[in-house]
Amino acid sequence: MASIVRKQAIPIQGATVREQLRAMDDSAVVTAFLGGEERAFSELVERYQTRLLNFVYRTIGDREKAEDLVQEVFIRVYRHLHRFDRSKKFSTWAYTIASNLAKNELRNRSRSPLVLFQTVQKNWQDDDRPLQFEDSTSRPDDMYRKRHLREIVEESVAKLPEHHRNVFILRELEGKSYEEIAEITDCNLGTVKSRLNRARNSFAEIVAPYME
């Protein structure tokens, strides 16, 4: 982008540029990108695409839209990386962008019944898809049970209030610390702890009848 301050490319020699980038921590990869190494951006995408996709998908419950939003995250990262405060963690910044986009998506959905309908329709189509995550060598009744359980878990997460769900996913799925979650969700530490506690209890109560 025009707005990105380009310095002279960092000399990463030979055919092992990707390997060298892979060995770097996020901060060094960001520095390499800002130094003009375009491949560093691909490295960031590779590191975060699956994690961000899962986070956004579990938050909004719509896979296709989640992919769109994750791509939007990377476009914003590309555009605004020069403004990123490098004293902070890149992952926290990326998750903050993703969290805000997911929040906006949920807000837009609640205002638009049409989108709600489309989401419901997508969920119906999901039911018609072939089994994806089960071990194909399992017996059919095991597969059914696993699939059923997965659906229950996903539905139970969706039942959590949005601000509880966000904290719950960041903690349980992404393994973020309380401090990181506070930064990503722009809440204080006490709020994060309280929301996490409530989210865990609510989730356990929703799922409990299916586990017995």
């Binding site: 707005s3 699956t50 590309y78 799925l173 702890k193 865990r200 989730f203 356990a204 409990a208």
Partner: protein
């Protein structure tokens, strides 16, 4: 430890970040309280279930789509970047000119606004009018220090003819 304290600290207990002594107290409470023990098991099992959800992978065309969108974004930025700053400067300049023009016009209107030209008033004062106004009558002088209600009536009685003349003057001015 009571159940309330157990509930409050339970999420840290689950995260295994409680200090040693607190951890022991929590474990002791679980040993004593069946309800809290059941709650602990339920939360831990449900979390295990959630964490065991298989992660989804980006679709096959994810990277391709992203590259396309990035190219589009770059192209859009390249096209609109300099133009937008130029057009912004033009807009600012145009707005400034319009504002200055407006202020100038407003000031000019204030300067050149003609004074109201009223027709000259032609009137004649009746005999004794000036005396009635400038030199108070004896009745009025007498009433002022007394402060009696008759003061106003005496004043009006003394100046009645002057009021009539004034009304006549207003009428003349209005009909011209």
């Amino acid at each position: 430890m009571d159940c309330r304290e157990f509930q409050d600290k339970h999420f840290i207990f689950v995260d295994d970040t409680l200090p040693g002594i607190e951890l022991v107290r929590m474990q002791m409470h679980i040993g004593e309280c069946e309800t809290c023990a059941r709650h602990d098991t339920m939360v831990r099992r449900s979390l295990m279930l959630f964490r065991s959800l298989q992660p989804i992978e980006p679709s096959a065309d994810f990277s391709e789509k992203l590259q396309r969108r990035l190219r589009e974004a770059k192209a859009a930025d390249a096209a609109s970047g300099p133009v937008s700053s130029r057009s912004f400067a033009t807009a600012v300049a145009a707005t400034s000119v319009v504002m200055l023009g407006y202020i100038g016009m407003s000031l000019r209107q204030v300067d050149t606004q003609p004074d109201l030209t009223l027709p000259p008033v032609v009137a004649t004062l009746p005999e004794g009018f000036t005396d009635a106004v400038t030199s108070p009558a004896p009745a009025m002088v007498a009433s002022v220090p007394a402060g009696l209600p008759i003061w106003t009536a005496a004043l009006f009685a003394e100046q009645a003819h002057a009021h009539f003349v004034s009304a006549d003057l207003t009428l003349i001015a209005a009909t011209r």
